[in-house]
């Protein structure tokens, strides 16, 4: 581990945790614009978080310790995941802690806690939300793994930093297999982050929601942590997507001079991705719940197809 790069790692950590609500605000703003509304502004998620932190949480009498610590685990897990994805530099001292597969593991880990906590109080909606969340996760995780395998095969490593370095090493190379992986990844991203068409992040209709049903029993600072964690999750996913499919512009380990430029490029990419996501959400309609397996099955199939194409074309 290079000690000089620890500040870099800290910068990324702080930025991811601090700026994640901003991305959520940006997407919300874009969606408002696409719908010809004026929108609540970029800082709205921060206001929501502040309000929630100031409220005192209300707990069910039956709530156990698990219910209380789950939000912290969620937040901690997402922050860790956000810290190890190469965003604007490949010199991340924490990155060797976990490769791409472990990253999927972290997501699965937090999901289990979220589901357990939702069932903890014993309300009908919590259990239903947990069940739906597990359904989505159960279908999305294999797809995500296969998506990660394609670049891993191309660069002969499952470590994200190595993948990014090998993808940026050559001059422009078109990888047909990566086109499949990119489409599949986008579908997984939509499902995993509870976006339209799989789930509607703004819904208040209990019967159709997934994510909303999970944290229905939470309030106050617990709810704030959960909301924040999901904002970080979205940013992390977008960062993974950028690292795998458009990694160009990232600063290499040790190149301090490139760092500001790489940061700027990354911010531009995230802004573009956010706008794209908002556009996608505006164009698509929410699917009925039983179509979700179809949707994620397609994502899985595309990911496998990407792998097959990689073997056929060698690229």
């Amino acid at each position: 581990m290079n000690a000089r790069e620890i500040p870099l790692q800290l910068t990324q950590f702080v930025l991811v945790v601090g700026a994640a609500p901003l991305l959520a605000g940006w997407i919300g703003q874009c969606r408002a614009w696409f719908a010809n509304r004026s929108g609540a502004g970029l800082l709205q998620p921060y206001r929501v978080l502040r309000k929630l932190f100031h409220k005192s949480p209300v707990m069910a009498h039956e709530a156990s310790l698990l219910f209380r610590i789950a939000p912290y685990i969620l937040f901690g897990g997402m922050a860790l995941a956000g810290a190890i994805v190469p965003m604007f530099s490949t010199g991340l001292p924490f990155a060797p802690v976990a490769d791409a597969i472990a990253l999927v593991g972290i997501f699965a880990f937090t999901r289990i806690f979220a589901a357990l906590a939702a069932m903890d109080v014993g309300t009908a909606f919590g259990s239903m939300g947990a069940r739906r969340e597990m359904l989505v996760g159960f279908l999305a995780e294999p797809a995500l793994l296969i998506v990660l395998f394609t670049p891993a095969l191309i660069s002969h490593s499952t470590s994200l930093t190595v993948i990014v370095m090998s993808l940026t090493a050559a001059r422009l190379v078109l990888y047909p297999s990566m086109a499949f992986a990119a489409v599949a990844f986008t579908m997984v991203l939509l499902a995993e982050n509870g976006r339209i068409p799989v789930d509607n992040p703004d819904t208040h209709l209990e019967l159709t929601m997934i994510h909303g049903a999970l944290d229905l029993e939470y309030s106050g600072r617990y709810l704030a942590l959960i909301e924040w964690a999901s904002a970080i999750k979205l940013l992390t996913y977008i960062a993974i997507g950028i690292a795998l499919f458009v990694p160009w512009g990232i600063a290499r380990s040790g190149h301090w001079a490139h760092f500001p430029l790489a940061l700027a490029i990354f911010v531009v990419k995230v802004i573009a991705a956010g706008a794209g996501l908002a556009l996608l959400e505006t164009l698509l309609a929410k699917m009925r719940l039983f179509r979700i397996p179809e949707f994620l099955g397609t994502a899985f199939m595309l990911a496998v197809l990407g792998l097959l194409v990689h073997f056929l074309l060698g690229a």
């Binding site: 078109l174 047909p176 099955g297 397609t298 199939m301 097959l308 056929l312 074309l313």
Partner: protein, 217 residues
């Protein structure tokens, strides 16, 4: 690998992607758009091959494919759909993920079968034979699984796209006379089918072929 060879591979991958999209698409208007898109990819990849290998003959073939499959045939099909006022295929016979898995199986089979063959071809795009074979098989699958006559026809036309793609990938296309003959067959076929549709419509008041299953053996 030179850039244009990469572009050919990329187009081939997109070709396969479109073939899969057609398999799962139920709206006829989208299906026709996908067919036109596939024709566009086909025309472009023939064009890229023509550029990469410097064969003027292929530009002609690319142009023929573009005119026929991006403009003429989709136009005819759209007109048919409008006149017959059909928009949706019925639910397919199988659940879509099952179809996808079947398709995946066919792709694995096609890739496997074509590997020893494509090794022998000296063309720059010989790797794409597997993709061509896969899309031929996927289109056949589509024809088997669809219930509406127009979807079957689109499957048939996509099948023909796959064949032309195969010809381009192993031998830089067939001699011109044959390509013209194939193009003629396609266009005449679509016309005849158009006539058919109207008669089927008249007789059955529907384009769903399940109503046509009278003879069992």
């Amino acid at each position: 690998m030179p850039l244009f060879a990469q572009a050919i591979n990329m187009l081939a991958a997109l070709f396969l992607l479109v073939a899969f999209a057609m398999l799962s698409q139920r709206r006829l208007a989208n299906l026709i758009n996908l067919y036109a898109l596939q024709g566009l990819i086909l025309g472009l990849s023939i064009g890229v091959v023509a550029y990469g290998t410097d064969q003027p003959k292929l530009y002609f073939s690319a142009g023929l494919n573009l005119i026929l499959k991006v403009i003429a045939v989709p136009w005819l099909l759209r007109r048919l759909v409008r006149k017959l006022q059909v928009q949706w295929d019925r639910e397919t016979i199988l659940y879509i993920p099952t179809i996808m898995l079947l398709g995946l199986g066919l792709v694995i089979f096609a890739f496997n079968a074509s590997l020893p063959l494509s090794e022998l071809a000296g063309t720059i795009n010989h790797n794409t034979l597997g993709i061509a074979l896969a899309s031929v098989l996927l289109s056949s699958l589509m024809m088997i699984l669809r219930a509406t006559a127009i979807s079957q026809v689109i499957g048939f036309l996509a099948l023909e796209n796959g064949l032309i793609f195969a010809a381009t990938s192993v031998t830089y296309g067939m001699p011109m006379v044959i390509e013209l003959g194939i193009a003629l067959d396609v266009i005449v076929g679509v016309f005849i089918l158009g006539v058919f549709f109207f008669h089927i419509r008249e007789q059955f008041d529907s384009l769903e072929l399940n109503y046509l299953d009278r003879h069992e053996d």
